[in-house]
Point group: C2
Chain length 298, copies 2
Amino acid sequence: MELIRSLDEVRRFSHQARGQGRSLGLVPTMGALHEGHLSLVRKARSEYDSVVVSIFVNPTQFGPREDLGRYPRDLQRDLGLLTPFKIDAVFAPDARAMYPSGFDTFVDPGAAAQPLEGALRPGHFRGVATVVLKLLNLVQPSTAYFGQKDFQQAMVIRRLIEDFNLEVRLVLCPIVRQPDGLAMSSRNAYLSTDERVAALALFRALRRGEAAFCCGETRTEAIVDEMKRAIAAEPRLQLDYAVVAEAQTLAPAAVATAGSVALVAARVGSTRLLDNLILAPPGTNDADRLRQVEIRNS
Amino acid sequence: MELIRSLDEVRRFSHQARGQGRSLGLVPTMGALHEGHLSLVRKARSEYDSVVVSIFVNPTQFGPREDLGRYPRDLQRDLGLLTPFKIDAVFAPDARAMYPSGFDTFVDPGAAAQPLEGALRPGHFRGVATVVLKLLNLVQPSTAYFGQKDFQQAMVIRRLIEDFNLEVRLVLCPIVRQPDGLAMSSRNAYLSTDERVAALALFRALRRGEAAFCCGETRTEAIVDEMKRAIAAEPRLQLDYAVVAEAQTLAPAAVATAGSVALVAARVGSTRLLDNLILAPPGTNDADRLRQVEIRNS
């Protein structure tokens, strides 16, 4: 497993791979790897002989009052977690290489980037879309793997790929959860024991919403009310949003159907947490839920 | 010479060429070809066995009150002009293929896109940068050829290529002029005989500015005054701007030096005309002037 730090080097690596007829899978991450990231690496490894994982805490996607400074960084630990997967390379550039002096061209994503995280974190998806485009251009993978956890991000990237005519396939992988249901997130490291208990209400809210949907409720307000009640029952949580949205645009769904997405965001202490669930009939597994979204998007 | 209309087809063409080890030169145009465009095609042909010319009147770079509707379009004439060059393909997509329903991701260019044309045509360079990125991604050329005539555009594209880590070389070719000095432009077709005479004052203004520079004047205000006087002497012209700018950023140059760029824009009747000149010592040819700019940019 090669550790690549420079842009020239990752270009050379990519040229060499493609020159030898090997296509690449890319897993873009901000490090602080957990089982969620590793499930993407596993998926990429199952589809490609050559896999690159990028580790880059991208400053342009953090707002001025956000947690860029304290975001967990431990490259040695991340490399240790990746070793068993026998991937080809970890690309971990530094911020000055990615954003040299004079840098000032950005991707301006459209409607899917406006609501929810886009409204609460102005400029966030502009930074995300810009860095992902740069990483795709540098590594030139055939497929890039993203987690369903950041569902809105994945929809913004899907739109970017289509609108800019990029030749890359996007694969979305299901959320990985702790046994008690908490969605894996690098930001879970911020939580105290107490806060971690409170955080469970996010997934509880999603399951309540889905239970209503499975009982035949299709009015989104009614489903959202269920979700909000579950969040409100946990006084340590401050709700940012609870919605049932169209997968592609993230606009509020007029009516909840299979393939609509329930999304929730809340703060506990100084930590923001996200979770989501693609609505489906009872017994539908996560992969089939994602397939619902992909069918709707195409 | 193949005429390619669809995005899938141009992708196939590009894959096939690169699969056979042929790298491509791309000349992006809006059609209504003239000697300026043909000089780019000639240059591309001298450097690449395989050349693609794109012809696309890009709606996103026109403002709501601009000349998108009346912009000259004559594909058959353009194909006739290209035939002698034995290029591989003309890519002439239609607007619905380039901007299908739901399209809403744009490139947001930075400082170089703000002054001059950027200030007078809000959104213009956003549209230009977006379509150029799309064309580069579809055709995947090794080199793209642009004319110095649209100097600011070329600087915006140069920044785009660098900031988004695109693997393409930008080649800038000198302005082609009529024998009397008028810069070749598709919009010259709009001019009446009378207006065409008036239009000569643009190049006259640039030469006056350069004459002052060559006499040792380095104060940009003094050079700009010379340029403005030449425009003012032609009552049919309405000045939009006359500046001496830094090549890379298009910001006003503090002091004029070799490699600073004099730019002028003016309206005659309902037609906007642009021209520019890279300042240089007397006797410097156009290619060497462009080299000054490239040296400064790297």
